[in-house]
């Protein structure tokens, strides 16, 4: 799967950012976000975090999300975007819901009773009876087998890439030496 290089039309993308670093929702915070360009979003606060829900017109989801992150950081209110509100790890029930199919059918895809076979194995919790799958891998398989629009699979990759980078940046701030050491050691054991 790869991003289309053809010129793309603008369309509206819905997504939400979870934002830390702002302890209180004040008039100053609201004005700064509005003036930074977030007038196409609704700002709310829950669990002490800002939840900013966008409906943004852009040529791609990637452009929409990255421009929103830039604006939130540029608002000058100490905001730190933690992640795009979407979890890459999903249950079998989540998969069924995301593709609007029954859990039984998803189970049959997994076991090879239906579909072309080769369903991706789970990523974690594989020993406790509650396995989780990576939506990126699952949506890639679904798109390859014409069970999901390729754009949806690509969007899953975009969101996961952005969230991975945001998580890495936050961890880098907390424990820079650890991140550098792990990166270095992993590069040394690359096949």
């Amino acid at each position: 799967m790869s991003a289309s290089t053809a010129p793309q039309c603008e369309r509206e993308y819905d997504f939400a950012l979870i934002v830390g670093g702002v302890g209180e929702l004040t008039g100053e915070v609201e004005d700064a976000l509005y003036e930074a360009g977030c007038d196409d979003a609704t700002v709310s606060m829950q669990y002490g975090l800002l939840y900013i829900e966008f409906s943004r017109t852009a040529t791609s989801l990637q452009e929409a999300i990255l421009s929103a992150i830039r604006q939130v950081h540029a608002a000058g209110i100490g905001a730190v975007v933690y992640r795009v509100d979407d979890c890459n790890l999903v249950t079998a029930a989540d998969i069924a819901r995301r593709i609007d199919r029954s859990r039984q059918l998803v189970h049959q895809y997994m076991t090879g009773q239906r579909g072309p076979g080769g369903f991706p194995p789970p990523e974690c919790h594989i020993t406790d009876g509650k396995p989780l799958w990576a939506w990126c891998a699952v949506s890639f398989w679904l798109a390859q087998n014409d069970l999901l629009r390729p754009e949806e699979s690509w969007d899953a990759e975009v969101i996961a890439a952005i969230n991975n980078e945001l998580e890495m940046l936050r961890q880098m701030k907390r424990h820079p030496d650890l991140v550098k050491k792990v990166k270095h050691d992993l590069e040394a054991v690359k096949a």
Partner: protein
Amino acid sequence: MPMARKRHSKPEVEKAIQYAEALGWRVEKGKNHAIYRLYCPHATRAGCQVSVWSTPKNPGNHARQIRAAVDRCPHQPPTDGTEQEDP
């Protein structure tokens, strides 16, 4: 629900505010870009808050997002009690 405030100039946003009010949310007047701030019934710092723009870029989207934020609030009983998550 008595309304001791000015109506929002965008009817769809006004309806979303009234939706929140009907579920026990409190409406406080804001200033500048956020004309109102909505507070959920759990009136502490841990409660939910939603900012309402005076001039949202797209009033229809803003109204939909306000309703979604109200529906996400964990501090109010479900409206019909039928929504159950898959285990």
